[in-house]
Amino acid sequence: MSFALAPVATPQRARAFTAAVSLAAAAAAAGGVVAIAAGVVRNDTRTLAAVTLVAALSFVGSGLVAWRRRPEVWTGALMVAAGFALFAGSLANSNSALPFTIGLVLAPLPSAIIGHLILSFPEGRLHSTLERLVVAGAYFVVFVVQIVMLMFMGFEHVTGCPCPTNLLFVHDDMALHSAIMSTQRFLGIVLATVAAWIVVRRWQNASGPLRRALAPILLTGSVTIVLLLAELIAANASTRAWAAVSSAERVAIALVPIAYLVGLFRARLGRVAVSDLVIELGRMPAEPGHLRDALARALRDPSLELAYWVPESGTYVGIDGRTVELAAAAGHTVTVLERHGQRIAALVHDPALAEDPALLNAVSTAAGLALENERLLAELRAQLEQLRESRARIVEAGDTERRRLERNLHDGAQQRLVSLALALGLAESKVEQDPATAVTLLQAAREELTQALSELRELARGIHPAVLTERGLTYALTTLAERAPVEVVLDVQLDRRPPPAIEAAAYYVVAEALANVAKYAQASTATVTVRTDGERLRIEVADDGVGGADASAGSGLRGLDDRVQAFGGSLRVISRPGQGTRIFAELPSRS
C-alpha cells in the first residue's frame, strides 16, 4: 500500500464534512461543560467527566487532521469515532434514562478503539492474525458482552446511585451479572496484556527511523494500556481509587491522538528535510561522498549507502569507482533510483524507510541532478580504476614476457651455443691426430647450430612476426593459419591496411585465440573472419570445440582484452559448453 504525506486536495464536500464533525464535537463538548457546570453530573465523577471531555476533543481534532492527511487510511476515522465514543461514554453520568443507557453501552468502547489504533500504527492496518484477533476480541468484549451484562444489571444495588433507569434492563440476576462482569474484566485484562506484549515486541524489532516515528504513540499507548489494566484490576477497590485511575487513564488517552500527530509530524519532518536537502544541494561543494551524507541526513539513516549504476559494465560502483556488491549488505533494503526512466543509482538503507516510499521518492527526486552528476563522476572513476588495473596488468605482462624470453634464450640458444663452442674446441684439438673424430664432432656442432638457429627464429617470430610489418595483417594471418595445428578457414577482407599498432593488436588477438583453440578447445576447425566495417575493424575467431572458456579466468584472454581496450576497442567471448568458442574483437581501423 502507499500513503501520501502530502495533503490531499480537499474537495468542498470533505471540507463541509470536517466542519460538521467539528461542530458536532464542539456542541458535545459544550453540552458536557454545561452539564458539569450545572451539577447534572454526579459529584464524585466530575473530574473524570472533565478529563474525558478533553480527551474526546483531542481525539476528534487529531482524527480530523489525520483524516485530511491520509484519507485512504482508517486511522483518522477511528480517532474521530473514539472521540465521539468518549463523549457518549460520559453520558453515563447523566441523570436521564436514554443518555444514561447510551453512556453505559458506549463507555468501554474507546479502550477497544485505542487498542485498535495503537496496534495498527503507523500504516493504519493490523500486521498479523494475532493482532486482528486481539482487536476483534476487544470490540466483542466492550460492546456485545457489555450489552448482555447490562441486561441483567439492577442498579439499585450499585454504589454511587440513585441512578436513572437502565433501558436495557431485562431481569435482575445479581449472580449472572457478576459472573459476566468478572468474565468481561478477565477477558479485558488478557487482551490488554497481549496487546502490551505485542507493542513491546514491535518496539524491539523496529529500528532507526521507524522507532522514531513509533516512540510517541507507543509510549502513550503502552501507558494507556497499563492504566487500563490498572483500572480493570482496581474495579474491586474503592470508587475513589477507581475514579483516580480512570482519570489518569483518560489523561493518557487524551495524549494518544496527540502522540499520533507527533508521529505524523515526524514523518512530515522528512519533507522538511527534503527542502533542507534541496537547499543544501544547491550550495554543496562538489566533494565526493557529500551527497551520501546529505541523503543520510535527509532520510535520517546514518547507515545509508549510495551506489551508482554503470550501464557499460552492468555493475554498481561506489563514489570511489570501485565495484559494490549490493547483495552483500544484509539486513538492508535496496531501492533503485531512476531519473528520466534511466537507472542511475541504488540506495542501501534501513528497511523502515521502505515504509515511507513517498519520502524516498521525494528525496531521490530532489537529489536527481546531483545524483546524476555524482553517478557520472563515479563512472569516470570506475573507468580510471579499470584503466589503472589494466595498465598494471600490461606492465606485468611485459615483465612476464621478458622473463619468459630470458629463460628461453638461456635454456635454448645460449645453451646450444655453449655446447657448440665446446664441440668446436674438441674438434680443433682432434683435427691433427684423429681427423675422423674431428669430423664427427664438427657434424654434431652443425646439428647443434641448426637447432639454435631454429629456436632463435621461433623466438623472434614470437616477439614480432616480421611478415606483419613487411606485408600486413592478411599475410601474417595466412602464416599463422598454416602454422596452427588445427584447420583454419581464413576470411580476411580489409579496405586498407590499418595502422601498425592496430595490425599488431589484431594479429595477437587471432594468435592468442588460435593458441587457445589448440590448447583447450579440442576443435577440428577454426574460422577466422576479419572485416573493416566503416571505422571499425571486426575480428571473429570461432571454433567447433568443447566451449566453456572463461574470459576472466585465463591471463591470455585478459591480456588480449587489455590490449584491445588500450586502442578503445572491445573484446567479447561467447563460450557455452558443447557449443564451441567465439571470440569477437573490435578495434578502430584508423589510429
Partner: protein, 212 residues
C-alpha cells in the same frame, strides 16, 4: 655470380663456400641498389640475395629478386632469409619456377647440399626450402588425397616440391631412380594430376595443387 647481403661476414662465407664448389663470384653487394647495379653490369648467371637489407631492413631483397627475374631473365635468383614465409615463396614462384630459389640461411651450413641447390638454380632449376614445403603441405590439413599418400610418397612429394631432380631424390632417400619414378607416377595418380612434367615444371604443378 653476385652475392648480396648486408653482413660482410656472411657474404664472405657464402663466397668461399661457392668458390670451393666451383663458382666464380664476380661481385658482392651490401644494399639492394648496389645489387641491381652489379646485376646490370655483370649479368651474372646467379644472384644470391638476402631478404633483409638496408635501408629499411624489411623485404627489399625480395623486391630486388623479383625485379631481377623480370628484367634480367638470364640471371637466376637464390633468395636467402633468416626465416621463411610460404607466402614469399609463392610470390617468387608466381609465374615460373625456372631459375629461382628460396632457402633458409641455415642451409648454408650443409655445404654440399647448398652448392648443389645453387648450381640447380643457376642452371634454371628450383630450390625451395623444406620448411616452406612442409608449411604448404600443412595447409592441406584434415582429410584429402594427400592423406592417401604413403609416408614414402609424401617424402618424395616434398622433395619434388623442393625442386630436386629424380636423381637428387634418389640420392637423398637412398633408392633407385626407377623407384623414384614409380613413386612420382603413383603420387600424380593419387592427386589426380596430369602426367608428371620435367623438374621445374612439376614444382609448379605440385605447388599449385598444394595451394588449391
Amino acid at each position: 655470380m653476385v652475392v648480396a647481403d648486408d653482413s660482410v661476414l656472411l657474404r664472405e662465407g657464402v663466397k668461399r663456400i661457392l668458390e670451393e664448389g666451383g663458382f666464380e663470384v664476380v661481385g658482392q653487394s651490401g644494399t639492394a641498389g648496389d645489387l641491381m647495379l652489379k646485376v646490370r653490369s655483370y649479368e651474372p648467371d646467379l644472384a644470391i640475395v638476402d631478404i633483409r637489407m638496408p635501408p629499411t631492413h624489411s623485404d627489399e631483397g625480395l623486391r630486388a629478386a623479383q625485379e631481377i627475374r623480370e628484367r634480367h631473365p638470364g640471371t637466376a635468383v637464390l633468395v636467402l632469409s633468416q626465416y621463411v614465409e610460404s607466402g614469399y615463396a609463392l610470390e617468387l614462384l608466381a609465374d615460373s619456377a625456372e631459375g629461382v630459389g628460396y632457402l633458409l640461411k641455415d642451409r648454408v651450413s650443409d655445404v654440399k647440399d647448398f652448392t648443389a641447390a645453387a648450381r640447380r638454380v643457376a642452371s634454371g632449376g628450383t630450390a625451395l626450402d623444406p620448411e616452406v614445403v612442409s608449411r604448404l603441405v600443412g595447409r592441406r590439413k584434415g582429410t584429402g588425397p594427400l592423406d592417401e599418400l604413403s609416408p614414402r610418397e609424401r617424402e618424395v612429394l616434398e622433395l619434388m616440391a623442393e625442386g630436386r631432380s629424380n636423381q637428387g631424390i634418389a640420392e637423398r632417400l637412398v633408392i633407385t631412380d626407377r623407384a623414384v619414378e614409380k613413386h612420382i607416377t603413383s603420387i600424380f595418380g593419387k592427386l589426380n594430376l596430369p602426367a608428371a612434367p620435367a623438374d621445374h615444371r612439376r614444382v609448379l604443378a605440385v605447388l599449385a595443387y598444394l595451394q588449391s
